[in-house]
């Protein structure tokens, strides 16, 4: 609804807004945030939150890039084969998720605290790895796969966009049609009821954080495709943008309620707002303000719905 209304309003301000090429552009801009938001949704559905998602994504992308590139400066740079570097990057993402999951389930810390900590840790690791520089490198063609353009009708999008859509399809299926998916909802909805129903709550939580870590690492793949280098700065805003997308998409921060496609819509709404406001000639600062108000509006609606149900 919001999406449609916003689109119509923006089209009044700029006739270029409702063109396929502009929408293609929005989708490309949304692909990375959308992919991270997919994993974030899983975590928020369990009444958790992951503030480290962007940091994990960037760290994964740096791992992939650095491994392929090798370490320059000390003689001949020795990169390792991409078929090793790519899985290593994914593994790093899953490992990051596993660390979060371990701290949440075993050490029993609140997810907010855990991921606030790991956010800084992964950021520091990334900066250590790059020594603060942006390595401009000739990236391996496989790592750039998701940067290729494809034409679908009048739309011209990157393979990264399609890949993100595919991620949503898979996760939506899993959430709707597997026991695991139901357990994710149940754990977020009422953790005691879930435990009493015989669900091994910790295993579900752990798996959620690991799967989310994997989606962050896959988002990293899209990042590399889009910006063609792996930059430590890419993921700075990724954390909050992803959470914004999930919240605007209607997933409750209290867990148990929401849909994965809502987050996709949420990510697109944010993209549409950014793009539409830019085309309408709105100052960047006011754009930020608009997104901020959008978040507050979305959470208010969520609260209101919860109260109305009770």
């Amino acid at each position: 609804m919001v999406l449609v209304v916003a689109s119509i309003i923006f089209s009044f301000f700029n006739e270029n807004f409702l063109t396929p090429s502009n929408f293609s552009l929005i989708l490309q801009q949304v692909a990375i945030v959308g992919a991270v938001a997919a994993g974030q949704t899983l975590i928020i559905l369990t009444a958790g939150i992951d503030l480290s998602c962007g940091a994990i994504a960037v760290f994964s992308s740096m791992t992939m890039a650095k491994l392929v590139q090798g370490t320059p400066g000390e003689g001949e740079p020795v990169g390792i084969a991409v078929w090793l570097a790519f899985p290593a990057g994914l593994l790093v993402g899953m490992l990051g998720g596993a660390i979060n999951g371990f701290l949440v389930t075993k050490v029993k810390l609140p997810p907010f605290i855990v991921t606030l900590g790991t956010f800084n840790v992964f950021l520091a690791l990334t900066l250590t790895l790059t020594k603060g520089t942006v390595p401009s490198i000739e990236m391996d063609p496989f790592l750039l796969t998701l940067g290729h353009y494809v034409n679908i009708g009048p739309f011209r999008v990157t393979t990264g966009v399609l890949f993100m859509f595919a991620m949503y399809m898979v996760l939506a299926f899993v959430l709707r049609y597997t026991s695991w998916g139901r357990h994710v909802y149940a754990v977020g909805d009422d953790i005691d009821a879930a435990r009493l129903a015989g669900i091994s709550v910790n295993r579900v939580l752990m798996s959620v954080y690991i799967v989310a870590g994997l989606t962050f690492a896959l988002a990293a793949w899209i990042v590399i495709g889009r910006v063609t280098v792996a930059s430590p700065n890419t993921g700075g805003d990724l954390n909050l943008d992803a959470i914004t997308a999930v919240v605007i998409g209607g997933t409750s921060l209290f867990g148990g309620r929401g849909t994965i496609f809502g987050s996709l819509i949420g990510a697109i709404i944010v993209g549409v707002f950014r793009n539409g406001l830019t085309l309408a000639g709105v100052d960047l600062y006011y754009q930020l303000m608009a997104i901020g108000l959008l978040i507050i509006f979305a959470v208010s609606v969520d609260q209101w719905i919860r109260k109305a149900r009770k």
Binding site: Y177, S179, Y185, L196, G198, G256
Partner: protein, 271 residues
């Protein structure tokens, strides 16, 4: 006591012998016994700290007794994890309305025990049979005569407290093969809602399902129970029937104001 001895031939479906459990220096259960016979409602009453909850936790596998035996259908059980009792066919309904509010009725009924689709969709993709679960949930709800629930895809939070507890009871009834334990099922409910749950207990008994009912509420206990086991200080103080004793008697036994002859402490099946 006149019923005693007339139906001694029945053997218990569940038997607990000398259950003992202590937490540190607190002895919650001090060699307590329990027998549950086929097709009966056994109420367990007792003051706070009399060992009701601990006994139930031992029977359902939530706690491991320090000593004593649990014999289910003639087989000795050794529960180690909360799910062990469940796997053995003992289902427990808790007072705290242990349902997930945002999930629908069907999802709650099958929570933790989802049905898979037949064929490769189920075995390889591990796809759940959502429509099958809905259909089965409808049947289970109907079988218990819970007519007030109309839409099986309703979120549980839209139901009244009594209906929610009915969903929990229906879940227990759907999966409980041997017996169902209800731990203070009406404690969180109003009068009318309690009535619904009591009706459910009766319909469970009518279907031949043995029930252990833990309750504080004497009128409710006297309404539905076939036998009443009175716990006192971690031991079984007496087993009476609503016919043989009055509520005042039971309260007197609970508080120790009245003692029951040793041989009357183990009244067997009256049904």
């Amino acid at each position: 006591m006149d019923q005693k001895g007339t139906q001694m031939s029945k053997s218990p479906i569940l038997q607990a012998v000398g259950l003992t459990k202590s937490y540190g220096r607190v002895i919650a259960l001090d060699g307590s016994d329990l027998e549950l016979f086929p097709g009966e409602v056994l109420a367990v009453v007792g003051d706070n700290g009399a060992g009701k909850s601990t006994m139930i936790k031992c029977l359902s596998g939530a706690e491991i007794p320090d000593e004593g035996q649990i014999i289910l259908d003639g087989q000795q059980m050794s529960f180690k994890r909360p799910n062990d009792g469940r796997h053995a066919g003992i289902e427990t309904v808790y007072q705290t309305l242990a349902v997930a509010p945002a999930l629908d009725i069907a999802s709650n009924l099958f929570l933790g025990r989802e049905m898979r689709k037949k064929g490769p969709l189920g075995s390889i993709l591990r796809m759940t049979d959502n429509s099958g679960m809905r259909k089965a949930a409808k049947e289970h709800i109907a079988a218990l005569g819970i007519g007030t629930i109309q839409n099986i895809t309703q979120a549980v939070e839209t139901l009244s407290g009594g209906q929610r507890q009915a969903v929990a009871v229906a879940r227990a009834a759907a999966f409980g093969q041997k017996l169902i334990i209800l731990d203070e099922p009406t404690a969180a409910l109003g009068v009318r809602e309690s009535r619904q749950v009591l009706k459910l207990i009766e319909s469970l008994r009518d279907r031949g399902m043995p029930v252990i009912l833990i309750s504080h509420n004497m009128p409710q206990v006297f309404e539905v129970a076939d036998r009443i086991q009175v716990q006192r200080l971690g031991k079984r103080a007496a087993v009476v029937t609503p016919k043989s004793h009055t509520m005042n008697d039971v309260v007197a036994i609970m508080t120790g104001a009245m003692t029951v002859d040793k041989k009357d402490q183990a009244l067997t099946s009256v049904r």
